[in-house]
Symmetry: C2
Subunit: 500 residues, 2 copies
């Protein structure tokens, strides 16, 4: 244990999860480590949930994290009815139910905004930060595990810190992190990242012995999410996108090794990067949020110079593979605070190629990433807006249909807007690519319908667009009486198709 | 004239506007100076419009500017049917008609994006740049007039340059500009602005004698827009906002002299800054796009340390006042390229307080800045997105009703989204302030309806919201069948009110 807790004072602060959880009181702001779902605390939240469920006491907390966290935190606490408010991004089934029932209030914030807004005081005082660590240094500084997220700011701003030292997370993670907290305005300086592999900070989260109130030891593994095997639809999307990028290189609009890639979380994103393994591209930089399995493939294929993110988010097999080859992989990986991995300053400077998935896209190029049928929260905007808004090239991908063809993901008007027409350069579906750059809305409608919509829905989209041009005309032709008729039809009949 | 054209070669290139306009051929990309509407070329576009109208020749160009330009350019050319496509922002009546009839294709781009996207090649080759200048240096470099806009990049990228030396613009403007063009990825460096008054470039636009194909001399004045006198409604909005800011200072969330202010164009924005003149705030920094009359008031009241923008946009009287006191004002003013004045990197670093006006806002905090009733283009997004997305504090202002009360600017769902719920911190109407920070959608609805909506529409908004919570529930309660019923009612009956 002296390898993991390198300070004698702190060894004396080792307590049971139950004792640590006893520090948490009603109405507190609790901020934790964790990002899509890795590196989050497990033992203390499980103990807290059990305590509340057993005692029946009234206890509500506001929970701030990096992004989505595992069931031991979001799931257990929302089932125990402990979460009053939750920020930002989540993917847990139980929590999602509680959000959509109105039981948990959820504020869906750009991931790069959260840390600075905590420092700005927009969320009030942080009572306790709970941080998963692989070790604590002699000086009481925290070496995080598989993610960095918002932990550096949470530790800085919290009144007290609980550290979960996770012996299931390998000590070899030490050195992979690069921790930098910007000053706040009016004293902020430029973030000195010029290349994706620049290191600008420390390998630990500054904390200090006195601030650590309790240390808990656990070995519960990250409850990582399975990745769907790469299917034909995803491969076709990846193929279209890679062809598009090759064409950009051929026209001199991108360098031969492209520009730093950002890729969202999930199976489609994983498939797109998988496509790059088989492509002719080399010497790629990856400046993104999450590092999924396909990044290991890119490293193995020697295609990638550096992968910078805020979180390791492999599948279960990917995690085993990472740990088995940790010394090879860790030289190619940097984990940064999400305020830096997703920073608009850096994304614009480096010239990110931002590739994220959409729930639905409309004929004028607006994108919905969060609210299904306008109301039901899926996961949240995550970092897509951080990159989409500031990238060199902003690409959104989606399969052209969902629910076995009963939903067209290309619709007359999206039922919720997370990314506006002003931000979108390229739409990719398995049908093809719509290059929207420099196009007016009426031109965008034509290429989106023609290149991206599913053949089953093309005639209906053309019909809407042509009638909107005739009836309303104007800059962005819409028939407001009908704009959501596809969604309403789905809600009423179970399909966006018109039954004959 | 030797003061204005300081190179002998260039004196020989002086031609008539008609001769310069003869360089413009069908299907060209023409890029001009000009920003809201000042510092745009006048003589050459007037000559071009006249030529086409007289000859009846087929001539269509794509027109790229900084932002809105005067009637001599947008008006004359759109009436002559010369504009095929137009980028970005516009306010001209004739052009707006042509855009909304579908005759001119308009692509509404974030103002900070345009220059880099031109360099990236997203718009194709720039054939000719037409730049208004107060003078040309001995080396053929261009000293711009009352705006900088995208001129530095247009000059750099254009095949040929036409300079309109405007003798109606005072030579004393020399030295006010700060011209800096960032390198493109992967070679871009941090933009070295740490304080609003940092100067980082040259006082002229680098060009060179050879690139200048023709010089035209003119004295046509900027066709500036009148500013409405500050009315009671605007004063009340300004009052609410200043009270909000004072409260932020009292709670330690803002320094005593605030953080750099950004303010949109137009009368409401002017009124808000006007309110600051009478406030107790001092030592203010202004890092924005446009410098309107109230900035001169702030300078006269010794309230302001520096006003950095990309354009001088005073009223006619304001312009006279500026010219009369130019030596006093110019030490307090810096004009930068809009890529720098509106840069997300700088806005986030400095911690902008972004104050822009909305066309309509919905109960969940989404903002429409561009498309009236979802379709009719007003002016464009301008720089509002550049700042809103990256500010320390993002504020949108709107009077709670329009059209003599027949339109509620607070609606169930905005008919077009330019700024998403994720970006908005504060809404201000003459009714009051909604502080949306850290709130979930259901909480936002309550404060927006309660604090910002007009009493005539409050019961209707509560009715929609309460029924949406009951019927649909979920994270963002909406009744899609009714979401645009207010807009439809207005289109059909001329009012959003329900007639009894």
């Amino acid at each position: 244990m002296r390898e993991r807790i390198r300070n004698n004072e702190l060894l004396k602060k080792v307590v049971s999860p139950e004792e640590a959880a006893a520090l948490i009181k009603d109405d507190m702001n609790i901020a934790t480590s964790g990002f899509t779902p890795s590196g989050y605390p497990k033992a203390v939240p499980l103990a807290l949930a059990k305590r509340v469920e057993t005692s029946g006491e009234k206890l509500k907390i506001n929970l701030l994290t990096g992004a989505s966290v595992g069931d031991e935190l979001d799931g257990a606490l929302s089932r125990a009815g402990v979460i009053a408010k939750r920020y930002p991004y989540q993917t847990n089934e139980s929590l999602r139910l509680a959000i959509n029932s109105g039981e948990v209030l959820y504020s869906d914030i750009h991931l790069s905004h959260m840390a600075q807004q905590v420092r700005y005081g927009f969320y009030g005082k942080i009572d306790i930060a709970i941080i998963e660590a692989v070790a604590i240094t002699e000086d009481g500084h925290i070496i995080p595990s598989t993610s960095v997220g918002n932990s550096p700011t949470f530790v800085q701003e919290a009144e007290k810190v609980i550290v979960e030292v996770n012996t299931g997370q390998p000590l070899e993670l030490e050195g992979i992190h690069d921790i930098y907290i910007p000053e706040d305005p009016p004293n902020r300086q430029p973030i000195p990242i010029i290349k994706a592999d620049d290191r600008i900070g420390t390998t630990y989260i500054p904390c200090g012995v006195d601030k650590i109130e309790a240390v808990v030891i656990t070995d519960i593994k990250d409850n990582v999410r399975p990745l769907a095997p790469i299917d034909e639809i995803s491969e076709r999307m990846a193929g279209h996108l890679i062809e598009f990028l090759e064409n950009e290189v051929a026209h001199g609009r991108l360098p031969k090794n492209l520009l730093p890639l950002q890729s969202g979380v999930g199976s489609v994103a994983n498939a797109v990067l998988g496509g790059l393994v088989k492509s002719n591209f080399e010497n790629l930089d990856f400046y993104s949020e999450v590092i999924q399995d396909s990044v290991f493939d890119l490293i193995d294929a020697d295609k990638i110079r550096i992968a910078s993110g805020t979180s390791l988010t492999p599948s279960e097999n990917g995690l085993i593979r990472f740990y088995r080859n940790i010394n090879r992989y860790r030289g190619k990986i940097i984990l940064r605070p999400q305020e830096i991995s997703n920073n608009p300053e850096v994304a614009r400077r480096l010239g990110s190629i931002a590739m994220n998935t959409a729930i639905e896209v409309d004929i004028y190029g607006n994108v919905n990433s969060t609210n299904i049928m306008g109301s039901r929260m899926m996961n949240g905007i995550g970092g897509s807006g951080d990159f989409a808004r500031n990238a060199f090239l902003t690409v959104f991908l989606t399969q052209s249909t969902a629910k076995n063809g009963d939903i067209s993901t290309i619709v007359p008007m999206v039922s919720h807007v997370d990314h506006t027409e002003h931000d979108i350069d390229v739409i990719v579906t398995e049908q093809g690519v719509a290059d929207l750059r420099a196009l007016a809305p009426r031109e965008r409608a034509k290429v989106i319908i023609e290149n991206c919509a599913h053949p089953d829905y093309k005639p209906l989209l053309w019909d809407y667009f042509n009638r909107a041009v005739k009836q309303t005309g104007k800059h962005t032709p819409h028939i407001l009486q009908e704009a959501f008729s596809w969604h309403v039809r789905f809600l009423e009949t179970g399909t966006m198709k018109i039954k004959k």
